[in-house]
Symmetry: C2
Subunit: 309 residues, 2 copies
């Protein structure tokens, strides 16, 4: 069987990196020749996680076709979030927890998606279904990914399946998940240490809605003001990247992970679609408060898609 | 939880009908409020199966939105193969074994696909994963669907997973699957009793390739001549339907289920793409022999897509 690469989306978060390592582990046990790689360097939170569980960061690739013909995707399916040469590759497997959009294959494939808070929760189920034992290190990565994606089980994307997985995985990984979870989330929110460019790109994803190219980034913080005090410079960086990359609309969601509120910074057009989607008025500085919003996938993408499509 | 409808594709074959019944049974056991329905009447083979296992045919629907907001799809995902008002519905679950094409959702969903010979094989695995016991009747339907889709495990789409499922299911259903399988396939190939219109529409699916609207039907028979002796009338019916439905190209694959050879009847354009895809020359009567070809999905759609896309 020819070797395949396994990877998560661009601008990888903890789930994208960890899920690739977890799925590659499972697929190797099932007889596949695979290597987990990443489409970017781990962020501060992910570095904390990898360090905690003594796991090397996956090799970063820019293109896959020079190395392999076939790939396995985790935590994404939309081609614009994938490796740059995805159109030249055969996708044989997908494990995901997002909507399906602009994903077309020529041949049948393995596709496993569930509407749960984290793709590592789906992988936890798949290990169990295939009766593959989860080693302590893999359990630690899964646990961290679920805590990261669900903001310690507080995001509205959280399901009972995620909660149950966290409890089971905490036992295998032998950690107090609440105590560890807060340390991990704080490690990922050192906003002051990051450049404007890194902040607006760190967890950014591209979407196509109603023919428009939309970029949506999310910055986790323990104090919204750490982001908002820099909004003039952030907007400059967003404008510059929107111009060079051709985004119509660029949104940055600043999210307080401790109290689950967000503030949106908006650059580009159509701004009135953003106001309609979130039922509010943009401030003179192009920001809008989103109380109770913590999930891009569940609370930002669907209302915006509704308006634009 | 609001009621949802579960159904397979238009022009339903045995797998499309049986898989809807099987998945509805599983989902009910898991706590969902569902009803299995169908997008057309059962064909002769499926009637034989339902009669054999004492199962009522599912109610036929033309639209789903008047009854429900959400639906679960089996054995298909492409919208043009689904219920006519699919664009007004929320798809919450898909269980399939085909390529993914033109399938877009706004929200995350359950999606389970595997590149195996029959979607009932995937459902067999899902029952086992969820530890839901398979009753004798459901086992009979699963077994029949797998035999139908894989032509008694002889189609190149057949995998070891299908073979294993058939052996396990034959035990639960308490039938000799080889003996039963031949009877079942013969019951579905009574070509003489069917009208031209029924023959060209009985197992037809629509595809979009390279911007062209392509219709591909498959007729199973135990003697190719039963189909070919009627090819002038079949071509007339194909032309007439292509005009009224706007198909650019209409292909009918006549397949001998006993010796695994096919003959293709071609109406519409581009004919040269068909010749290129199958490496041959069309006869003066617009037919082309396809020795060893029995699978639309694996041996007809991919080469045609390669040429047209």
């Amino acid at each position: 069987m020819a070797k395949e690469l396994v990877f998560g989306h661009q601008s990888p978060d903890t789930d994208a990196i960890c899920a690739a390592i977890e799925y590659a582990y499972l697929q190797e046990k099932l007889g596949y020749d695979v290597e987990a790689v990443a489409l970017g360097e781990p962020n501060e939170e992910t570095k904390f996680v990898l360090n905690q569980f003594n796991q090397k960061a996956p090799r970063v690739i820019k293109e896959a076709k020079p190395e392999v013909d076939s790939v396995m995707l985790v935590d994404h399916n939309e081609p614009q979030q994938s490796v740059s040469d995805i159109d030249k590759l055969n996708v044989t497997h997908v494990v995901d927890h997002h909507r399906i959009a602009n994903f077309n294959t020529e041949k049948p494939l393995f596709y496993r998606a569930e509407p749960v808070g984290c793709v590592s929760t789906v992988l936890f189920e798949m290990f169990n279904e295939k009766s593959v034992e989860i080693p302590q290190k893999i359990a630690g990565l899964m646990l961290s990914a679920i805590i990261s994606d669900t903001l310690l089980l507080k995001s509205p994307t959280t399901t009972d399946v995620d909660k149950n997985a966290v409890k089971e995985l905490a036992k295998i990984a032998n950690v107090d998940y609440e105590d560890y979870g807060i340390k991990m989330l704080k490690a990922g929110t050192n906003v002051d240490a990051r450049s404007d460019e890194d902040l607006i790109d760190g967890d950014a994803k591209s979407f196509t809605m109603g023919g428009k190219s939309i970029r949506i980034d999310q910055i986790n913080t323990v104090d919204l003001n750490d982001v908002l005090k820099r909004k003039d410079n952030l907007k400059k960086a967003m404008k510059s990247e929107a111009e060079s990359e051709g985004y119509d609309l660029f949104l940055v969601i600043a999210t307080n992970v401790l109290d689950s509120n967000s503030e949106l910074i908006v650059v580009g057009e159509p701004k009135d679609a953003v106001e309609k989607a979130f039922n509010g008025k943009l401030s003179e500085e192009d920001t809008i408060a989103l109380p109770g919003v913590v999930s891009r996938k569940k609370q930002v993408v669907p209302p915006l898609t509704d308006i634009l499509d």
